[in-house]
Subunit: 341 residues, 2 copies
DNA sequence: CTGAAAGCGCTTACAG
DNA sequence: CTGAAAGCGCTTACAG
């Protein structure tokens, strides 16, 4: 493997000159620049990442801390991962994918060994044990998911309260007066899935303001349990004309459930979910939905992180960015057949 | 951040002694070992990964080259990724997830900069452009997916021919004499998805031997097209009593299709797929299947890679390991209602 | 505009 | 059993 020393020798200049010619960090006569470039081409020189990391104290790697939880619907995670890794690459960083069960330990390990320049945390819970470790770390971090205390961290998340309100308003606006909201399982909530109740509470509140009845349930996050759950909820509220889903597994299971009940959407039941467009395509879901904006959130988190890593911005105030919900209209919401008044 | 020099100073020994005490690479009196350990604890010392990489020429990182193709069914990939990353961690390696569109360039970049110690390639095609680059690389690589020319590389894949034969035999064994096989889309085949025809050819051959009619089709790899395709295939062969699926999207779409046709499995139609158990759970699929063994293949690839990386085994012959198919019986194959003779 | 030198934080032959 | 020193391959103040 060629080193910068080899390049310098072939080009007939000093190592520092070769280095500067390549980095452009000081002015170099074009003649020398050319000699260096020729030497690089001839030798096929590429800088050694470890040596550069040691000299610059920058690894150009970010760690992506994912959590693959058994009670979670995995396909929904892939898009966050892609958003992060693609944007990172565009900005000159590689992505270390970390899926260890013990998140805090992994974070500590990568931080103290200086393997990475920063962290993106996925699936952040209400009181996430990784956050304290992250706050102590020498490297900055960005979160996808809003914790109770975002102090000292950049946070990116969908605006779940606004999403809840939007979902209710969509139903109410076309005449629905009784609906069901199916959230993720209580497991998820207990583990700190704050977004679940943040959406649910806001939806409830908005429904009350508008004088709409909203029945709220926690549904399983896995098949086939969620199917049974959906049947139960629908049985219990035969008058409900609308169904809101903040639960990906429920959305995936619904077409089957509806067919089993010989109910069709939106003729008999208006349906509005919260999932990504990619998810809808994968599962061929014909339901309108608030876009979970996974790619966007992943990209935003990386951008903020990179700014902070490169930053004179150490002291910049941290941001909590809640993405306003947008609606993917797939035509599954219409006026109820027999509108209550 | 504490360095090995700090540890040495606090422990009152030389840096080399501190280093050896920690690595255990030469014998150290227990008294000294304790002093060093105490210093480490006191300072919270962790070795700097970049410095270590430079000194040892080992980064303890492996690159996982995935390809997220738009015409591919993404959920099926996650388990390979988890298999690789979990096993790597168990063996002391971290995983760099690489999803760049230009695979050969990414591989070259990571190889020449010495960012990683080895490569795992996912989704390897018949004549994959990444392979030549990999063969030139200084680091070893393991493939998941069998290319036309596996020369110089360790390969792990499901035994697709055996899988095809097994699938046919399962149907034939209980009396089926006419069946349909739905493969992945021709796109996938054209891109080099050799496993598609390897399974199909073997299935065809075995069917001929057994005197069973097998109608082979390529189906779309995405929803909702695959649903339409399935209807078409079933319409065309009303006598077929069995359905074999080597196409994850088809498996995911089938429950809906069957319900639309008011056909039930296995009473009216025996169904046998090829997908992972995790996939079956996610989509709540009630179909028996040849397990695609994603986790296992991921783990095996990493193990082989690590052996080779640490190896005096540079010269060891390369392996092509084809995993014998195993069946997850979910009860969707039984004797046909009206067996042809 | 260019060079000689120090330093990043480790590991490991070499010497005792 | 332990230490002093060289070296891994870069970058970047310091000097000219």
């Amino acid at each position: 493997m060629a080193t910068i020393g080899d390049v310098a020798r072939v080009a007939g200049v000093s190592r520092s000159t070769a280095s500067y010619a390549l980095s452009g960090k000081r002015s170099i006569s074009s003649a020398v620049r050319k000699k260096v470039q020729d030497a690089v081409d001839e030798l096929g020189y590429t800088p050694n990442a470890g040596a550069r990391a040691l000299a610059t104290a920058e690894t150009k790697i970010i760690a992506l801390l994912a959590r693959f939880l058994s009670d979670e619907f995995a396909p929904a995670m892939l898009q966050y991962i892609q958003g992060v890794s693609n944007r990172a690459r565009e900005l000159g960083y590689d992505t270390l994918l970390v899926s260890e069960a013990d998140g805090p330990a992994a974070l500590r390990r990568l931080s103290t060994t200086r393997m990475v320049d920063g962290f993106v945390l996925l699936n952040v819970g209400e009181s996430d044990e990784r956050l304290d470790v992250l706050r102590q770390a020498a490297q900055p971090g960005a979160l996808i998911g809003l914790p109770a205390d975002p102090e000292g961290l950049d946070v990116f998340d969908l605006d779940f309260p606004a999403s809840g309100r939007l979902m209710v308003e969509q139903l109410h606006g076309v005449g629905h007066r009784e609906a069901i909201l199916v959230s993720q399982s209580e497991h998820v909530v207990r583990r700190g899935g704050a977004y679940v109740w943040r959406l649910a509470n806001a939806a409830q509140e908005r429904a009350e303001e508008l004088g709409m009845q909203l029945h709220h349930y926690y549904g399983a996050s896995l098949q086939p349990e969620i199917g049974t759950d959906l049947h139960r909820f629908l049985d219990r509220h035969p008058q409900a004309t609308g169904l809101l889903l903040n639960n990906e597994a429920a959305a995936a299971a619904l077409p089957t459930v509806l067919r089993e009940r010989e109910v069709s959407a939106p003729a008999d039941l208006s349906v509005l979910g919260r999932f990504s467009d990619e998810f809808a395509r994968t599962f061929s879901l014909p339901f309108s939905a608030v876009d979970s904006a996974a790619m966007t959130l992943g990209r935003q988190a990386v951008e903020a992180l990179v700014t902070r890593m490169q930053g004179s911005t150490k002291a910049e105030p941290h941001v909590v960015s809640l993405l306003p919900p947008t609606l993917d209209d797939r035509g599954s919401v219409t006026a109820p057949r027999a509108p209550s008044r």
